[in-house]
């Protein structure tokens, strides 16, 4: 699978996030690089189809025959409403998306997330919230997995554990990771 972004531009009112951005992701797992504020999270949301571009095209090549690309994004810019508890968020996702329940259960047990299942999203610490987003994203069926700073705010054990799960995942992945905890991966730079 290959993803090509051709002359993408994004503006919020008068603020320019990026302009005429052309990128190509041709490795199964790529690191998206860029300085703070260069628009990495915005680009991930655009690739996930959650935000419109101001101009430019996104093109998926060599996709499966049915040509619908299912994309999952784990990012703190896609937070669930704070009225729901963690368990309700997982149930809500299961209601609308296909989920690998076995993998989800393993992740919950190994990340010690059991104790937080009945906490509301607004009551979760930033680390627990990150765990919830990653459990939801890793256990959902999709062709593409987008991860925005997956290791931020996590303790060392959880980081190591999630690193193994992410590396074992066979989906096409684009990852924003400033700490480079996943080792040497092909990089795609956003800077001009």
């Amino acid at each position: 699978m290959i993803l090509s972004c051709d002359k993408l531009s994004k503006f919020y009112a008068t603020k320019r996030v990026f302009k005429d951005l052309s990128l190509r992701f041709d490795s199964p797992r790529s690191l998206l690089q860029g300085a703070n504020g260069s628009g990495k999270s915005t680009l991930l949301r655009i690739i996930a189809g959650l935000e419109e571009t101001s101009s430019g095209n996104i093109d998926w090549q060599a996709t499966p025959s049915d040509s619908t690309v299912l994309i999952v994004l784990a990012s703190e810019s896609v937070l669930p409403p704070d009225v729901y508890t963690a368990i309700e968020v997982l149930a809500l996702i299961e209601r609308y998306q296909k989920v690998d329940t076995e993998l989800r259960e393993t992740l919950i047990q190994q990340l010690n997330f059991n104790a937080h299942l009945h906490s509301r999203v607004s009551e979760l610490s930033s680390g627990s919230l990150k765990k919830l987003l990653l459990i939801a994203a890793l256990s959902q069926h999709s062709d593409v997995l987008l991860l925005d700073e997956p290791f931020a705010n996590l303790d060392v054990e959880s980081r190591d554990l999630l690193k193994d799960f992410i590396l074992a995942d066979q989906r096409f992945q684009i990852i924003v990771d400033h700490h480079r905890l996943l080792g040497e991966l092909p990089c795609v730079a956003m800077d001009d």
């Binding site: 949301r45 996930a48 189809g49 959650l50 935000e51 999952v72 994004l73 810019s77 896609v78 937070l79 669930p80 409403p81 009225v83 729901y84 508890t85 368990i87 309700e88 997982l90 149930a91 809500l92 996702i93 299961e94 209601r95 609308y96 998306q97 329940t101 076995e102 989800r104 259960e105 919950i108 047990q109 059991n114 299942l117 009945h118 509301r120």
Partner: protein, 307 residues
């Protein structure tokens, strides 16, 4: 060095921005005021002394309680219109910048300036009733209702949790989940009804309940009107004015529910396009159903009493 803007200046700027953002809603409201304002005003000026008269002449506690409830509803309308353009972050900011007590006082004074019609309503009662202990109690009850409603809404808008809602959420979360079940089973046990109930509460927050209450009150008024013995010409005129006011409240309710939905739109979209499209469509359908219910309530009540 810049001087700090006063609350009055901030309110003026906010009001201007609020009008710009809600232009269509205000066009409808201004239209309503031009055509139906005199009728609504006359009704209120007639109803206020009547309310005072009923309060002073109440022979039972139940009667007085009903008058107090009507007063509380009036207070909610005035206070809610004031807080309609304040957001909790702005109230918190003002609390921090001018001190907790001063911010509260400033807002209460500003509300009283804006709620001039409320004072007219209370004082108009004295044009018709005697000044005695009971009428004094009536005035005290009026202002206590206004102050209590203001404190309640101010606390809520400035970010303090609504204890009843918190308890309800805790109860909803705690119910139906067995401790011994596995995680997968626990997630499966989260029923569709529970998720829908939470979604409903989520969409109805930030004062949507009050707007819904006003819509219900308009239905009650419509039914009461249809069962009264007023001349047909007046019946139609008052009926149309109630329907227009009711439609305005429905529009307010629908707009607020949509704003609540859009707050986390990116999450709903992440569940697939079908979910937000279905919800937006549902909100629109409910809006039109609520509006079309007005003539239906009128016709049903009219036919029931006359056939």
């Amino acid at each position: 060095m810049f001087a700090k803007p006063s609350l009055h200046t901030i309110m003026q700027r906010k009001t201007k921005r609020f009008f710009q953002n809600n232009r269509r809603l205000y066009q409808f409201f201004i239209g309503f005021l031009i055509f139906m304002g005199p009728i609504a005003g006359a009704t209120m000026l007639f109803a206020a002394p009547l309310l005072g008269y009923l309060a002073v002449n109440a022979v039972s506690l139940l009667e007085f309680a009903m008058v107090a409830c009507s007063l509380a509803l009036l207070c909610i309308v005035f206070v809610q219109f004031y807080f309609l353009y304040w957001q909790s972050s702005e109230l918190q900011f003002l609390k921090l910048s001018m001190g907790k007590g001063r911010a509260l006082l400033h807002h209460f004074v500003a509300l009283n300036r804006q709620a001039a019609i409320f004072h007219i309503l209370v004082l108009a009662a004295f044009a018709r009733i005697e000044i005695n202990i009971q009428s004094m109690i009536y005035v005290v009850v009026c202002y206590l209702s206004l102050f209590a409603t203001f404190l309640w809404r101010y606390k809520l808008y400035s970010g303090s949790p609504f204890i009843l809602k918190e308890r309800l959420n805790a109860w909803l979360s705690a119910s139906s989940l067995g401790e011994k079940a596995s995680v997968g089973e626990k997630i499966k046990e989260v029923t569709k009804t529970r998720l829908n109930t939470k979604l409903f509460f989520y969409l109805m927050r930030s004062g949507a309940w009050l707007r819904a209450l006003l819509v219900v009150a308009m239905y009650v008024l419509m039914a009461k009107l249809a069962t009264s013995d007023i001349d047909t010409a007046f019946l139609a005129g008052i009926g149309i004015s109630i329907m227009m006011l009711g439609s305005f409240f429905v529009a307010l309710l629908s707009k607020l529910v949509q704003t609540n939905l859009h707050r986390d739109m990116i999450f709903w979209q992440s569940l697939g396009q079908a979910m937000p499209t279905r919800l937006t469509g549902l909100i629109k359908r409910v809006k039109w159903a609520l509006i079309s219910l007005f003539p239906l309530v009128f016709i049903s009540a009219y036919l029931l009493t006359r056939i």
